[in-house]
């Protein structure tokens, strides 16, 4: 099965959906250590898309290229670089490797258009990202926390969330 490589996907998207593909820049995950050589920058071969055109790009993958199966959505918190990276994986029903779309949003204002109205399978993925990272999905039909209770404050998977202490236990007593 001949499937698209990331470079081919970028070409197709640039041709058919101008403005969707964003230049990837390597980023530093952590501040340089006091001793020893600093770790290399994090760079990716995958296609980085503009958040505004995510829905169009995803629908292009499904309707034009046949990648109908949205398998996964993962959020990575790059605290040092001040942004969130979202990774969407799409598969073709006939098989083959995935096409990956990534997008980066600033940590200060993490707003992403929701895929759920067009792609019901994104529902729980997006609610999980909302619950644990505080990503706001514009247009999600039921934007509620999925694991934590509704009154919970804070986003537990963010890197700056306190890992010790009992801030949330017995607060109202």
């Amino acid at each position: 099965m001949a499937r698209l490589s990331p470079a081919e996907l970028r070409e197709r998207l640039e041709r058919d959906l101008p403005g969707a593909v964003v230049e990837t820049t390597p980023l530093q995950i952590s501040p340089p250590p006091a001793h020893g050589p600093p770790p290399g920058p994090y760079s990716t071969d995958d296609t980085l898309v503009a958040p505004d055109l995510l829905v169009e790009a995803a629908c292009y993958l499904r309707d034009q290229l046949g990648y109908a199966f949205l398998s996964d959505l993962a959020v990575v918190d790059f605290l040092h670089a001040g942004l969130f990276e979202l990774m969407y994986r799409f598969y073709h029903v006939d098989g083959g490797p995935a096409l990956v779309l990534k997008l980066r949003v600033p940590r200060a204002d993490p707003r992403v258009p929701s895929l759920t109205p067009r792609w019901p399978g994104a529902n729980f993925h997006e609610r999980e990202a909302l619950d644990l990272f505080g990503i706001i999905f514009d247009g999600h039909p039921y934007p509620k926390r999925i694991y934590m209770w509704d009154e919970f404050e804070g986003w537990p998977m963010r890197k700056d969330f306190p890992r010790q202490g009992d801030k949330y236990i017995g607060e109202d007593e």
Binding site: Y42, A74, V76, G95, G96, G121
Partner: protein, 369 residues
Amino acid sequence: MLKTEELQINIGPQHPSTHGVFRMVVTLDGETVIDLKPVFGYLHRNHEQIAEQNSYLQNMPYTDRLDYFNSMANNHAYAMAVERLAGIAVPERAEYIRVLMVELTRILNHAGALGFLLNDMGMWQTQLAFGMREREKILDLFEAASGARLMCNYFRFGGVARDLPPDFVPHLRELLVAMPAFVDELERLLRENEILIQRSEGIGILPKELALAYSVTGPVLRGSGVPYDVRKAEPYSVYDRFDFDVPVGSVGDVYDRFLVRIEEMRQSRRIIEQIIEQLPDAQGGHINPKARQNVRPPVADSYARIESPKGELGFYLVSDGSTRPYRYKVRAPSFINLTPLGDMCRGYKVADVVVILGSIDIVMGEVDR
């Protein structure tokens, strides 16, 4: 028909048929379900964040606890993700042992799942005991190989923890000889069973297009008639060397999902027979002797997915060059398979909800993470 007042009830969180601590808010009109909202989180322990504080190897036993029925399958997906990240090669013999363990896991998972499904229909214990009896035999083999029955912690980066004990293959052969009789018996018991047919045919229908749109995987997707199996779609490990079929259903109801699982047990047995044939010629030992276990992968990301008994299990890892994963994400099949539950139950009776949930086959350890 007379319109009656709508009633909202909670099924769960403590309910014998929710397979763990899980709640469904069901809106009823008489006995008919008009809406269903699943409520998660009772078992949430932020697995992913805990894993980000562990070293790569410390996470191996922790993945056992995701889907505690199928610890071997969880180990496999995680080991593959780390090996891709750190560039570790796996010897041929180790690959065969891995696939053998995962296929045994598939058999025991389906035997258990079918037993529990019948339990949910009110046929008490008999079929469950049959399934559990077979499961015990496989668990004995796991214990012989890994030292543990459920939380096996058997896989290592570059192979498996130790080689198969000498009497493993003879015992496995005995099990394989006895297995067709068990599967046939189970199928006969269920296929001609009036209760099962009445309770499952035409119930919880998930059409093909909807199944794809909802991203469901595993027996649920194949029961709806989509022949998608990661073992065929994107062969990993040594799956391209085996000859096996991907069973599919036609309607997408509970009955189809049940038939797909029965047939998958037979196909797993076929794969294991081929493994036993090819295992003596396989190159290398049970582990790559050069593979370090305290890995420190370069800065990059990696993804690995396998066909776990419940569906597509994926691990996404991002390394920052240290000994701990910077990001560790699990794509849990049980969790995503629950997405269409509301649509599957709408229009059926409240008693069917339990059966439809049972046919998805979930484990809360993986759903809530």
